[in-house]
């Protein structure tokens, strides 16, 4: 069913996918203070690759992705699990948020925290899950 995409779709996908990916990272990082967050960002990233998938097919998308979506899920879950332990080092209950202010040049700070690691884990899990389903469905379709 997947006919080769039209010219407009081809060109649009090429330019939109990187923009969408940047947007997803943006949403991910601003999530703690402004609308956004790992879940939304993961969905946006999946949307980007879904567009690519519809235009160029599963094989090309897999190449572009470089990582198997199943591994993305694994990485996401691992990050989620990793983020719950640092609290133990401070003698606090598991999952207690830990914050580190990392100084940057120019008198500014980067807010680094376990919730951020956790959110990145959510991002990868959502992204990996959606891509796993989409690519698998497309592959059987092309088959």
């Amino acid at each position: 069913m997947m006919k080769p995409g039209t010219l407009i779709l081809h060109v649009a996908a090429r330019y939109l996918v990187p923009l969408q990916l940047i947007l997803s990272v943006f949403l991910l990082l601003r999530g703690h203070d402004e609308p956004g967050g790992g879940f939304i960002a993961g969905l946006v990233a999946s949307g980007a690759f879904a567009l690519y998938l519809f235009t160029f097919g599963a094989t090309v998308t897999r190449d572009l992705l470089r990582v198997d979506p199943r591994n993305l899920i694994g990485v996401g879950l691992c990050l989620g699990m990793v983020s719950i332990f640092p609290a133990l080092l401070n003698g606090e209950p598991l999952l207690t948020a830990q914050w580190w202010n990392i100084p940057l040049p120019g008198d500014s700070y980067m807010k680094m925290s376990t919730p951020l690691i956790f959110d990145i884990g959510v991002y990868f899990t959502v992204f990996g899950s959606v891509m796993l389903m989409l690519i698998a469905l497309t592959e059987t379709e092309e088959h």
Binding site: E34, G37, L77, I84, W99, V130
Partner: protein
């Protein structure tokens, strides 16, 4: 002591590594672990014999009152010595018995894990810890019985053992919880020391019934005895260790442990004496019907377990002394006998007493050991078995307990003398008979002989010096069982009394029975049909029922029709929630809400989209309407200033439309297969759900059950969680555990979808042509019930709903493709794997 248990677990964990270096020799090295522990425990003998109770405290889950405390008193010390001592020889024996077996390392791992669990069980002070170890022994026992997992018989026996003991374990858990709540503590020591009298507690009867079932299943008491003889499918070291010396005594241990606090009531005495006596007689009687050495011994173990239960039930001081002595005697001779039976099997190639004879010249050491151990089994002086049996008879005579039980004991000991003679005389005397050639039969290696020889020497020593054995081993255990010190001693010679007379008579009658065994055996064989209708038939009935129930509920609930699933789920929700709503809170009507124009417009469009989705006649249309519906919901979120929800909703809707479109092409054409009646009932269910939700929302406006938590979250979002976006703070900080669970669910769901898409009928579980091989005799499934592909499932569903005509069996692809799958502009070769 915690260390003692952990060391064995550690040894189990290191076994694979050790095995890679040492191969066959690893067992000899590993045997050092239990050997060292035996010595360590033996060093505590003087202190414990002096009445000391050694307690090692350790926290585990203090919040729930669960500790890892371990207690060493007379009873647990006796058990610990048996577990580690016999365990040492079993490990040695296993190394020789399974020499060259490819899975020897796996065997040693599980064996050591079992040993550690069993040790933990007898040392644990906390009821919960005790239960954990109890279940661990069940699980490891399951793996050990099923060690030869290629044999269907071994698998079946393993599963049977697991179901009976783990099922009993669950009942036991209930009993332990009742005991804990009645006693006010989960610590055995605290329960014993508290002033509460548990036997008068209202929960006493319920607690005892549960504890009895737990103990009886584990210790194979009638009517749960059937799993034990079947467990003989395990390799011999396992039978010798688990199913005679240690694990099956766990139930006995528990009863003995609880005797001072819970024993002595009418319920206790009645149940234990009757069940014990009946198990004893059944075991002894069924033993006579067997010719397999291991089965003979297994049934005689049943008899011994029954005797121990009986002694606990009698509960007099003499009975307590007898209990501990019998426990030790049985472990010594039965462990030895099993290992010897394994040697005979290993060397002569058969375990059937009818096929063996005259082996004494070829296996001299084995023959002598078997003879002595069997004499102890038969209760003949000067062996320790005799001391124990005299005490049993005396404790019965002492009280004039009941003539019926005394009669049963005498009958059982006559049978057991015959069994002992069968085991000791048949294979070794008479003309040479064996499954192997005469010159290929030779004495077992020293690793296999070490255990039996040592155990037999101990039996003789304990018999000759009963005072010593009594003072250091059995009497301290007796004190723990009785709960206080008892005046008493063990001796070989009690003078010429009634008990001795009974012994002599029973031995003579037993030998007479042995002389005529061949004819007795053929008579007993005629009882087969009766015995087949025993408790084991009940077990099979139960399992059949379980499978039938599963089939029934799968047919009714899991019938594969999506509409049915939805209807069931939704109606359950409506009924339960609706009932709660109506019974707890009245209906509230709240129409005084202000609408702005654009809110109203969004709602009207929302309803229109929903109606469109219901009425459309194309699938693509339905998907589009659903998408539109989702977007309007997102719009409402945004109108009520929830941007995060709105964004998420839009993204989810977009992706679900994409997913639906991808799936859409795999579905058959959009045919209207439901009758107007069906549609009406669907509409009814839908309206009901809508009405419920409306009522719920109305109620939430008026009823405020708790102070909403959102105030706290809003206040602390910035100071505590350093984030201004409260939705995100809730997701990753306040409720991070929920989110963590959710991403795992999401990952699992994705894996599930992936598995379904990549489904290969040829390797799927449905393609197995034999089913139920584990629990029940295997049945061949009729060819038409075997699932080969998705197409077939779909075809069958359509046939059932009279949408397409049933097609002849072998007519495969051509008709199917055209009848179900209208090519939707797609590749006509597409394997349309329709999802239902």
């Amino acid at each position: 002591m915690q260390l003692a248990v952990l060391v064995i677990f550690l040894a189990a964990a290191l076994t694979p590594w050790l095995y890679n270096r040492l191969h066959g020799q690893s067992a000899n090295v590993l045997a050092l672990v239990p050997a060292a522990l035996t010595i360590w425990f033996a060093m505590h003998i003087p202190a414990v014999a002096g009445g000391e109770v050694i307690v090692h405290k350790m926290q585990w889950v203090p919040g729930l009152g669960i500790s890892f405390d371990m207690v060493l008193d007379g009873l647990s010390l006796l058990f610990a010595l048996l577990i580690c001592g016999i365990g040492t020889f079993i490990v040695l024996y296993a190394g020789a018995y399974l020499k060259g077996h490819e899975n020897l390392n796996r065997f040693l791992v599980i064996l050591l894990a079992f040993m550690a669990s069993m040790l933990g069980l007898v040392l644990a002070d906390n009821l919960v810890t005790l239960f954990v170890f109890w279940e661990l022994t069940s699980v490891t026992s399951y793996m050990l019985i099923g060690f030869n997992h290629q044999s269907a018989e071994a698998r079946k026996a393993a599963l049977q053992g697991l179901i009976v003991t783990a099922g009993g374990g669950l009942v036991l858990l209930a009993g332990l919880v009742m005991l804990g709540s009645a006693g006010g503590s989960y610590s055995l020591q605290e329960i014993f020391n508290s002033s509460r009298i548990l036997t008068e507690h209202p929960l006493y009867v319920g607690m005892m019934v549960c504890l009895f079932i737990g103990a009886f299943t584990k210790s194979a008491q009638f009517p749960f005895h059937f799993w034990l003889p079947n467990a003989m499918a395990a390799p011999t070291p396992v039978s010798a260790y688990l199913h005679s010396a240690t694990m099956v005594k766990a139930g006995i241990y528990l009863l003995a442990r609880l005797q001072p606090e819970l024993g002595g009531t009418e319920l206790w005495i009645t149940v234990l004496t009757s069940v014990g006596a009946f198990t004893m007689l059944t075991g002894a009687f069924l033993a006579l019907r067997n010719t397999d050495l291991k089965k003979l011994l297994a049934y005689s173990t049943l008899m011994a377990l029954g005797t121990l239960t009986l002694l606990l039930g009698i509960g007099t001081e003499l009975a307590m002394i007898g209990f501990a002595a019998y426990l030790l005697a049985h472990s010594l001779y039965k462990g030895a006998l099993f290992m010897l039976a394994g040697i005979i099997d290993h060397e002569a190639g058969s375990r059937d007493v009818r096929e063996l004879g005259g082996l004494r010249k070829k296996l001299p050491v084995t023959a002598v050991c078997t003879l002595i151990a069997a004499l102890s089994l038969a209760g003949i002086p000067p062996l320790f078995g005799f001391v124990a049996k005299e005490l049993l008879l005396e404790s019965l005579l002492d009280n004039m307990f009941s003539y019926v039980i005394l009669g049963m004991v005498i009958l059982a000991s006559i049978f057991i003398v015959c069994v002992a003679a069968l085991v000791a005389i048949r294979p070794f005397f008479g003309a040479f008979k064996a499954a192997k050639d005469e010159d290929k039969v030779h004495e077992a290696p020293s690793g296999m002989l070490a255990g039996p020889v040592v155990l037999v020497i101990l039996t003789v020593l304990a018999g000759l010096l009963p005072g010593l054995a009594g003072d250091y081993f059995t009497l301290p255990a007796t004190f723990s069982v009785a709960g206080h010190e008892i005046e008493g001693y063990l001796s070989l010679w009690h003078g010429i009394n009634m008990a001795l007379m009974i012994s002599i008579v029973s031995v003579l009658l037993g030998l007479l029975l042995f002389k005529n065994w061949d004819s007795v055996y053929s008579v007993l064989r005629k009882l087969d049909p009766v015995i087949r209708r025993g408790p084991e038939a009940g077990y099979f009935k139960f399992m059949d029922g379980l499978v039938a129930t599963a089939e029934w509920q799968t047919r009714v609930l899991q019938n594969g029709s999506m509409r049915n699933y939805l209807r069931t789920i939704i109606l359950t929700l409506v009924l339960l929630t609706g009932y709660t709503l109506l019974s707890r809170y009245q209906l509230h009507w709240n129409f005084g809400v202000d609408f702005t124009f654009y809110e109203l417009a969004a709602v009207v469009l929302l309803v229109a989209a929903a109606a469109g989705a219901c009425l459309t006649s194309s699938r693509m249309g339905a998907v589009a309407y659903m998408g539109a519906f989702g977007f309007f919901v997102a719009m409402i979120f945004i109108l009520f200033s929830a941007p995060d929800l709105g964004i998420t909703q839009i993204l989810v809707e977009t992706l679900s439309v994409i997913l639906l479109v991808l799936v859409l092409f795999r579905l058959p054409s959009f045919s209207n297969i439901s009758s107007p009646m069906d549609r009406a009932s669907d509409a009814f269910v839908a309206l009901l759900t809508g009405a419920l939700m409306t009522c719920l929302i109305m109620v939430t406006i008026n009823v405020q059950l708790f102070e909403p938590i959102s105030g706290y979250m809003i206040e602390n979002s910035v100071p505590l969680a350093h984030g201004r976006n409260i939705v995100n703070v809730i997701l990753v900080d306040y409720r991070a555990l929920d989110t963590l669970g959710e991403i795992f669910v999401l990952a699992l769901a994705a894996m599930g979808v992936y598995a379904m898409i990549k489904f290969k009928p040829s390797t799927a579980p449905g393609s197995n042509h034999h089913a139920g091989t584990l629990i029940l005799p295997s049945k061949r499934i009729p060819e038409r019930d075997i699932v080969h592909s998705w197409q077939e499932i779909h075809q069958r569903m359509l046939e059932e709903q009279n949408i397409v005509d049933a097609r002849p069996e072998d007519d495969e692809d051509s008709t199917e493709q055209s009848s179900i799958n209208e090519p939707q502009g797609s590749d006509s070769e597409t394997k349309g794997e329709p999802k239902s």
